[in-house]
Amino acid sequence: MKLAKESILYKAVQNVIALLAIFVFSGASSLQTLNITAILAVGFLFITTISLSLGWQYLVWKNYFYFIEKEGVKIKHGVVRKNQREIPLRRIQNVDVTRNIVHRILGIAEINLETAGGGSTEASLKFVNLEEARNIQQKVRELKKEEKPEKTDEAEEGRTLLFELQTKELGLLCLTSVNGKAIAGLFAVLGLGGGFIGSQVEGLGLETAAASLFLLFAAVIFTWIGSAVTQFLQYFDFKLYRIDDSLEYERGLLNRSEGSIPLGKIQKLTIEENPLKRAIGYSTLKIETAGYSAEQSVEQGPESAIPIARRERVIEFTHMIEEFEDLNLQSIPKRARRIYFGRYAIASTLLLGLGIGADQFIGFNYPALVLLYPLSAVAAHLKWVNAGYGRGDSHFFTMKGFWNRQTMIVPYYRIQNLIESQTVLQRRWNLSSLTLDIAGTSAFQKDAVAEDIDTEEASRLREETFNAFKKSLLNL
């Protein structure tokens, strides 16, 4: 089969734009005197490049074939050097369809075939007609189903809508999308800056205080609006369907993305809440599969299956896709809280020392830094209270983080390695951590870790978890 003809034009224009950009940046400054020859030359150059790249892209298109067969997906391409790639069907995890606004105008789509492991997308078809894209998704799905004959067509045909993001929820998502850490950072920087300015110009104290407060306020609003807009564009009209044994989502305003999450490949469920979401009782659900998701991948981590919904609804949903008993989490030892406080207090003391030092040279309002001590106590408590872990019958649970609290649910049969570790600092307090390593998308993902638990408990938990892992393999 062939790619869409529109892709010739699209890619040619892409090439020319890239060339033009280089031209503008490099040569434009030398064209200060506009004479007719120069314009003609530029025009000539422009037309030549356009026709050349059109011609080239035509050849690329002409030499590009793909076949979707029982054995797998086969791609033959190459104008000068001929390439042929075959991807076995069972290795394909996802078929992702992505369309940006230009694609949508032209009625084309980019298809990415994701496989487990490897650092990148295995194959991407740029570009096919939208209809064809749907056909490919459908065909791969059907072929994959045929491969597993033991699973008959008991599952209902067609797709069922599982979740749709309501306008109210989209609004809440935008409002709560603020990055609390960034704002706290801003407060800290501007607070210190304010202290600095305040002590520099004493006569203007009131005005500068007002000015820095305004600046702070503006910065907070600005970052907030920025992330709200991103969320709005990304999750506009989010829909989650269930088709056979996979979840399929559609989302986005300008860039309409679609993708699938094969239920049989789920490695981990993560429920996320920042403090704002916790306050109104809402959560986000992310699902991690072993596949490599197209554009999300490294920076953003796994795909959201539910961008935002009431916490009870999210938990109900997790029970639907993974069978586990209640999320029973136990807290980590109380001495962990003392240790956190100790760490923060030491950091505060260092900062206070720096502040006093700075005051000698440039004038610095260091007494304000004393406030860091009560803050340390609050921070230590919040870190402690938001940490937890639990060993269920078939799943392991971990919870961590105040700014973005992540509750992870890991099936025992997904465990790849079990790692118990103890740093020098932990050793002093008889604490350890237990990491459940699972097959993942990237090294940057957050692992499921039960952090700062009692050392004996950690060792016991490691043995128990390993036994549960062995048992879970028998039940597969």
Binding site: G117, Q416, N417
Partner: protein
């Protein structure tokens, strides 16, 4: 519990030499500033000091390292500042390499790298093995991995 061969200490000491040298260069300046010693004296002092630390670290590193092929998993213990106890189920082993880099060959040693699909356990390394032993362990690990191959790892 098996331990790496004692010879591996030689490799680890050599590996520690370069950072030791660089650190000593860095430290020699403040030392001579404060003690008004000559540059060479400052450097030697720093070098002796840091070398002692490096030797201590390496010895401790050796003492902490041990591993064992248990019934159904590979068990490892290592780490100086961060002590690590890890369990790699044989079912999860994707493939097993033996590797010999220049230093290994110089000391007549070999090491084994066990790959799983895990994100961070991607390279579980057993250092300091005699080449014959390494081949043995590799074969054993391969066999136990094949034995339990049927189940889909991801």
């Amino acid at each position: 519990m098996r331990k790496p061969e004692k010879k591996v200490l030689g490799i680890w000491l050599l590996q520690a030499f370069i950072p030791t040298f660089i650190l000593s260069l860095g430290l020699s300046w403040p030392i001579q500033e404060y003690t008004r010693a000559g540059y060479f004296t400052g450097f030697s002092g720093a070098f002796v000091l840091i070398s002692a630390l490096a030797v201590g670290y390496t010895v401790y590193r050796y003492r902490a390292w041990r591993f064992e092929m248990k019934e159904d998993h590979l068990y490892l213990e290592h780490g100086v500042f961060r002590k690590v106890y890890s369990m790699v189920p044989y079912v999860r082993i994707q493939h097993v390499d033996t590797q010999r880099d220049v230093l290994d060959r110089l000391f007549g040693l070999s090491k084994i790298v066990v790959y799983t699909a895990g994100s961070r356990g991607a390279d579980v390394t057993l250092p300091g093995l005699l080449p014959g032993d390494a081949d043995d362990i590799q074969r054993k690990l391969r066999d136990v991995a094949i034995e339990s191959e049927d189940r889909d790892a991801v």
